[in-house]
Symmetry: C2
Subunit: 354 residues, 2 copies
């Protein structure tokens, strides 16, 4: 069974291809028989195959935000120079996910979808790049939030394949605080009786729970200064409540609850130290990529204090702090000062010889 959704469509998300990487064995056991990944690309792979950039996606986000905000000839992520590949994560709703599992994946539908880890995504992405695009090495892996988790996983798991890495607003090892924070969002959804253990007719049935999740994001995803300075005025909302009802709530109610839960379970457990028996220093010590660690100064989910100690464990890395009064959701690029910082840092990184 799969649920039809107006959100997870080409009408809403524009061009992307569904590419199967075949059966994917999962770290937690079980497998996805037909692991379909939703992939969007910009630019062209050059003959030397050395201009590829990979972008893994964040929680609740897709390739769309990268296309609309981060990528373009005026940006460091310039499709006139680079072949840019955005891969939507498993559970994103575009790639194989609880709400769309059908055909060979029908046994994984809805509440039966297996637990997926960051490492599963990265294994699937590596296979996709190699088998589908013939890419053996990446000029850059860059991602925000859960995309940063995947970026770290790439740099630790496949050090020879990652020349540069830019984890933005995310950590290599999720903190206990961040685990609990994600759990409050999960509980907001799962406590909605309409969620019904993951067996609902449509995601819209769970709107009450998704709105509560949206409200938690309004508190932790944005900063006290965002609200005090009424930054929502610059986003063309007339009041705090209009911003909540007009942006935060519909952003989440459009999405599938089980898909979000698949992602957040994964987010909670991001940890590159799984490769080294729990030794974070050893895991980060494996990284050979030139790495810019890029926390957002107002971020309550992945504060600088959590990102900086990881950066210090990565040889030759730099801490590039991004200032944004929005906090974690600064990743949406709403502040006019956001992208110039991102472009400067990614530009410096891409111009670094490795």
């Amino acid at each position: 069974m799969s649920i039809s959704s107006p959100y997870y469509t080409h009408e809403f998300h524009g061009d992307y291809d569904l590419v199967s990487v075949g059966r994917l064995e999962l770290e937690e056991g079980g497998s996805i028989p037909d692991c379909q990944l939703a992939v969007a690309t910009w630019g062209e792979l050059n003959a030397a195959r050395d201009n590829a950039i990979l972008i893994p996606t964040w929680y609740s986000g897709t390739h769309q935000i990268w296309r609309d905000v981060y990528i373009g000839p005026e940006h460091a992520l310039n499709p006139e120079r680079y072949f840019i590949v955005a891969v939507n994560q498993i559970g994103s709703g575009l790639s194989v996910s609880p709400h769309n599992a059908d055909g060979p994946n029908a046994a994984l539908s809805m509440s039966k979808f297996p637990r997926v880890r960051i490492g599963d995504d990265v294994v699937a992405q590596e296979r996709l790049l190699r088998d589908h695009f013939g890419i053996e090495q990446l000029a850059l892996v860059v991602g925000g939030s859960m995309g940063a988790q995947q970026t770290y996983e790439w740099a630790v798991r496949f050090p020879d394949k990652v020349l540069r890495a830019a984890p933005i607003a995310g950590t290599a090892q999720n903190t206990p605080h961040d685990f609990l924070l994600a759990e409050t969002m999960r509980e907001a959804v799962m406590s909605d009786p309409a969620w019904n253990g993951g067996e609902y007719a449509t995601g819209a049935d769970v709107a009450a729970g998704l709105k509560r999740e949206a409200h938690i994001w309004g508190v932790v995803g944005l900063s006290t200064e965002f609200w005090k300075q009424e930054v929502w005025r610059g986003l063309e909302f007339g009041s705090k409540d209009e911003f909540i009802v007009g942006f935060l709530e519909p952003y989440f109610t459009a999405m599938d609850p089980n898909d979000l839960l698949t992602q957040s379970w994964k987010w909670q457990r991001g940890d590159v130290a799984r490769h080294t028996g729990g030794d974070l220093a050893a895991a980060l010590g494996r990284i050979t990529a030139k790495t810019f660690v890029m926390p957002i100064d107002e971020d309550q989910l992945f504060p600088v204090r959590d990102c900086k100690p990881e950066q210090q464990l990565i040889k030759g890395s730099e801490l590039r702090i991004v200032s944004d009064v929005l906090g974690h959701l600064g990743l949406f690029g709403a502040a006019p000062t956001f992208m110039p910082q991102i472009d400067r840092h990614l530009g410096d990184l891409l111009n670094t010889k490795v």
Copy 2:
């Protein structure tokens, strides 16, 4: 109707007196016919009646935590020198509250309890001190969190009656971020079907919602460093989950949902600028008390950045930042470094001639 609760008792809370201040007209309209306040005192009022200290209570807290942690001959709040009066706020569960409204207040029971504001509490407290104790002036008003809100309200509303003020970990004007944060806690409770619009048989029926509230407190009430440093080990818990299940959850599930909602509605709307048509500078400019503004450095609810601008609007005030890795819940005094700071600041304040 009133609900019997093992928590809101002398067995649990020790000595306190119920004192009626009579009918209390409310800022939002309506009245409490028989406004009973639960009052605990330590020490003796001297002949000059100039050694009185008032402590209003915080959200979910009562006089108990002040007795156990803050008050004693070894502390600045020394009952051998001062007559210390702790007044539990309306809705605290000990003073008149939704769950215990009976007799003349029976029409206010449960979901019918009226909306109460910080100003209502302060008016009731002033009447209590004057009529019951014959106190016309306070050597100090000190409170944490919602107690800080009441402290500010006292200093602005009754400037002649407050010689010294120490708002700890709280603001004079609640921020929009803090409003939304409290709202997520309210939604956690009100979304529990057992809450039933405030008409339940016992608070224990709403345990699922109260546990979700507890989990949100675990995220916003404590700091990332609390969890990362596993500070709960020092509180004699064996794991993160034991701390949540053994402390945070039972702390809230013992309480009455409607009582908590009465308090949080009040918390959300704390604002001394109601006295001056919205002009915060004018309101804080009324304060004549020697004021120490005492935010906690790791506080996510009332961060220093929100407290400092208020302090700067108070003539002759000082910003005394308290360092505590626990964040807002540092107010519980669990860190051995907490009370020495509080005692030093309150000692300095009490020793300041005014």
